[in-house]
Amino acid sequence: MASLLVLVSTGACRRQPSSESPRWETLPQAEAGQLRPLDAFERIEDRGLRSQALFLEASRVFFHPRCANCHPDGDSPFQDSGGQPHSPPVTRGPEDRGVVGMECAGCHQDHNLELARVPGAPNWHLAPRTMAWVGKTPRQVCEQLKDPARNGGKTLAQLVEHNAHDELVGWGWNPGAGREPAPGTQAHFGRIVAAWVATGAECPGEEARP
């Protein structure tokens, strides 16, 4: 569900964008549950604006409940699609893996369970607080992702690799039990993140929304 927003440049860009260049809002509507094809971004001639637009597209994945639910700002993950608290109640714990008796891996397996409706993927755990996305803007998430102090010490290349291939990340597109998957596919998402990095890994303005 793409909504067209005004991309406000608040001085975050280093160069003045070409006034001739198409912008984010000129992109075709995304199909429901899909990510926009890469070549759609080609029409944004300005490299900086294209980079920001690619990030905004990627943020449709970051903010999707399948991903954001485990990137909470507090000590508990969410469930479903409306920010409902995880049931049973679980707490982050010192290593983001739950507290004694309520460890994530105490219930979540390395694959989805259909009869029990419990989602699963290898290494199931909460993203550390530095990687909290809930309540953040796309710009704030962008800055977090680029900051090795907050992204688990990753280079941009490692970030691309992580997004494109990590199994827990990949769960977002294969959530099981009738849960709505993140838009597109992990491979497509990986290409968008790679294209964002290739165009300079620019962060969108503070007001920009996908």
Partner: protein, 155 residues
């Protein structure tokens, strides 16, 4: 069907079962250890809690293949004679009502005390958050955990 080797309550067992069969049913239906209970099948109630290499898992959703080559402890193996401090505190303080949830409560409380011998109220609330009790024995459980830990129960 494959043969899986699992150590249960200190004894080596060989199980010829579907590797995806939840540990709960391997314990109950195959090994006839019925102290671990079925309450919900979706890891929501905690009645099926056992230890896998000392860590709590919900047996109703843990495939038996995950226990292969590892050690499982059930309520029957919590102590040789019912003498675990938690078991004694539970009996002294009359904690159980219908008793059905108590195997799970004890296994989770035991894991908690093994990691945190002096748990706070918040520790108890968080670690036992997954264990439902329809009879409502929560306040006695809290008091019994503290008693077993040698803490003033604050009553």
């Amino acid at each position: 069907m494959t043969t899986l080797k699992v150590r249960v309550n200190g004894e080596d067992k060989e199980l010829d079962v579907d590797p995806e069969m939840p540990l709960l049913w391997a314990l109950r239906d195959v090994l006839r250890l019925t102290g671990t209970k079925y309450g919900c099948g979706q890891a929501l109630c905690g009645a099926c809690s056992v230890h896998l290499d000392g860590q709590v898992v919900r047996a109703c959703v843990t495939p038996i293949r995950r226990a292969e080559g590892r050690s499982v402890t059930t309520i029957e193996g919590l102590s040789p004679d019912g003498g675990h401090p938690l078991q004694r505190a539970w009996v002294e303080m009359g904690v159980p009502q219908c008793g059905f949830c108590q195997s799970g409560q004890l296994m989770c409380a035991a894991a908690l005390l093994a990691k945190k011998p002096q748990p706070t109220d918040a520790d108890i609330d968080q670690s036992l958050a997954g264990n439902l009790c329809r009879c409502g024995t929560y306040t006695r459980i809290r008091a019994a955990v503290k008693k077993a830990a040698g803490l003033p129960d604050g009553k």
